[in-house]
């Protein structure tokens, strides 16, 4: 029997167990996407609550509630950032079953863990995004009588979210890779599927090579998509520079993807009338 080469093995593994890899990748993406989205929402809510200003004249109940809420959220962030996701997974899945007889199915437990874990990181990322916005805008919003909620949703968050999009993308990519730790609670994601295939094919190198390529394709595709979204969010008038300092000309050079494009402004039309 002729010895099989590396590529022979890869080919054989892909053609025989391709379906297992694909369904594993599907589960990985499902967990990563839902986890990142829910985590992002948790992050937004936590950051909004944590930035509510407390004033000396506020009533006692409000102060106490906010203080307690802030303390809980601080503990939440510290605990979930400070412990490995693998440990969290063990505690949530097996721990809950043992101590409280709560029997989650592995996929639900996986999504839950990734969500709250991402939420802890996202809270800090969103807080950073909020703090990057000029204090003057908070003051201005205050001066026209906006509520904290109005200030956040109308003024601050649209800018903050735009600023934290790269960091959010990072979290997403990290989540795709980190779902692999969920194999300890037997979620059939890509790593678990690979381990199973390895158990059948008895080839470690080639099997995990295939898994590595799939992870790389997933993360690469996601980063490209995120970059595209970022560009879209910048808007099509992403950057406009005044061509001359003299206002009457009103001639602007618009830069879009490196191409120069001249734009006649409404002003010019009205002048010609």
């Amino acid at each position: 029997m002729a010895t099989k080469t590396f590529w022979d093995w890869v080919g054989a593994i892909v053609s025989n167990y391709g379906q297992m890899f694909l369904s594993g990748a599907g589960t990985t993406m499902l967990i990563a996407i839902t986890g990142t989205i829910i985590g992002f929402l948790i992050g937004l809510i936590v950051a909004i609550i944590r930035t509510i200003p407390v004033l000396p004249q506020d009533n006692k109940a409000k102060k106490v509630i906010l203080k307690v809420a802030n303390a809980i959220m601080a503990i939440y962030i510290e605990v979930f950032r400070g412990t490995p996701m693998m440990v969290q997974a063990m505690i949530v899945y097996y721990g809950l079953m043992e101590a409280f007889k709560i029997d989650l199915d592995p996929l639900t437990a996986g999504i839950l863990i990734v969500s709250i874990n991402t939420g802890a990181y996202m809270s800090e990322i969103v807080r950073g995004g909020i703090e990057s916005i000029d204090e003057g805008q908070f003051d201005a919003a205050h001066a026209i009588g906006m509520t904290h909620w109005q200030t956040m949703t109308n003024v601050i968050l649209p800018q903050a979210i735009r600023n934290i999009l790269p960091a959010t993308g990072n979290e997403f990519v990290i989540n795709i890779k980190d779902t692999s730790v969920l194999n300890v609670i037997s979620v059939t994601e890509l790593f678990f599927a690979t381990k199973t295939v390895k158990g059948i094919a008895l080839r470690t190198f080639e099997t995990f090579f295939v898994a590595g390529v799939i992870y790389l394709v997933l993360t690469f595709t996601v980063t490209r998509i995120l970059r595209f979204i970022e560009k879209k969010m910048d808007g099509d008038d992403s950057y406009t520079i005044m061509a001359s300092s003299s206002m009457p000309d009103q001639q602007f050079i618009k830069i879009r993807g490196g191409k120069h494009e001249h734009r006649q402004w409404l002003h010019d039309e009205s002048d010609q009338k």
């Binding site: 200003p53 004033l55 000396p56 004249q57 506020d58 009533n59 000029d134 204090e135 003057g136 805008q137 908070f138 003051d139 201005a140 919003a141 205050h142 001066a143 026209i144 009588g145 906006m146 509520t147 109005q150 109308n154 003024v155 649209p158 800018q159 735009r162 808007g235 008038d237 406009t240 005044m242 206002m247 009103q250 602007f252 402004w265 409404l266 002003h267 009205s270």
Partner: protein
């Protein structure tokens, strides 16, 4: 005419993060009546802007001592909700730095809508354009389609002024509203403010380090130094016959045009 709009007694203010001893405003007292223009003059860091922020009850200011009464209500005792209803429509603000006050990436049209909706006011384009016209912004249609970074500093500042004008407040606080404007436009804004006072009986508290502007519009002038109001009185008296050494020096330091 003699209705008191703002009454400040022995006011001391510090910033949230600073030590108690580190007061930005110390023992300031004054009173403003309807249709009165008070100009507060002083060097940078003398506490002028902090005073305005404290009256507004900005989140980071803390009143250590004294009272602020606006329209007969004790401001530091008001709940946030009650205070919000006063903001904009009763107490207006022209911020010092429009670049840091507007959302830099959104069109002014959207920002005007949002600002007006905070006090449940209708977005009335014609009205905005007419306010723009008054302070020398002639191509309002285009401005509304622009974002702050697409316009010059002076234009942004005038847009901030327009926002304050739209709300038609009874008490308008201006924090160096003309710092980025050329002399002609600054004059235009001052005239508009004076007109506002005359037509709507607005009380205007103006912070500036431009004595010329103070001389042109003020009924009363207060001079601040190191957080204290060292001199306060009718404009003519202060300009002609300043009592304090520092005030005299301040008057002498005004650059004059020699012809």
């Amino acid at each position: 005419m003699s209705e008191t709009v703002l009454e400040i007694k022995d006011l001391s203010v510090r910033y949230e993060d600073c030590d108690v001893e580190d007061l930005q405003v110390m023992d300031v007292s004054f009173e403003m009546k309807k249709g009165e223009i008070l100009c507060i003059v002083g060097e940078s860091g003398s506490g002028k802007s902090t005073l305005i922020k404290a009256i507004h009850g900005m989140d980071r200011t803390r009143v250590v001592n004294g009272t602020i009464e606006a329209f007969g209500k004790d401001m530091s005792g008001l709940s946030k909700k009650d205070r919000r209803t006063l903001m904009g429509t009763d107490i207006g603000l022209i911020p010092q730095n429009p670049y840091s006050s507007f959302n830099p990436i959104r069109r002014y049209e959207v920002q005007f809508k949002e600002a007006l909706s905070a006090q449940k006011m209708e977005y009335d384009k014609e009205k905005i354009l007419s306010v723009f016209e008054k302070i020398g912004l002639h191509d309002g249609e285009r401005i509304l389609k622009c974002r702050p970074y697409e316009l010059s500093g002076g234009m942004n500042q005038r847009i901030a002024i327009a926002v304050a004008f739209l709300f038609e407040p009874d008490l308008l606080m201006c924090d160096e509203p003309t710092s980025a404007l050329d002399v002609t436009t600054a004059g235009m804004v001052v005239d508009e403010l004076v007109k506002m006072k005359e037509e709507q009986n607005t009380a205007i508290l103006m912070v500036t380090h431009h004595l010329g502007i103070a001389a042109r519009m003020a009924d009363h002038i207060g001079i601040m130094k190191n957080g204290r109001m060292i001199e306060y009185g009718p404009a003519k008296q202060i300009l002609k016959n300043p009592q304090e050494e520092y005030s005299r020096k301040l008057m002498e330091d005004v650059p004059r045009l020699k012809r």
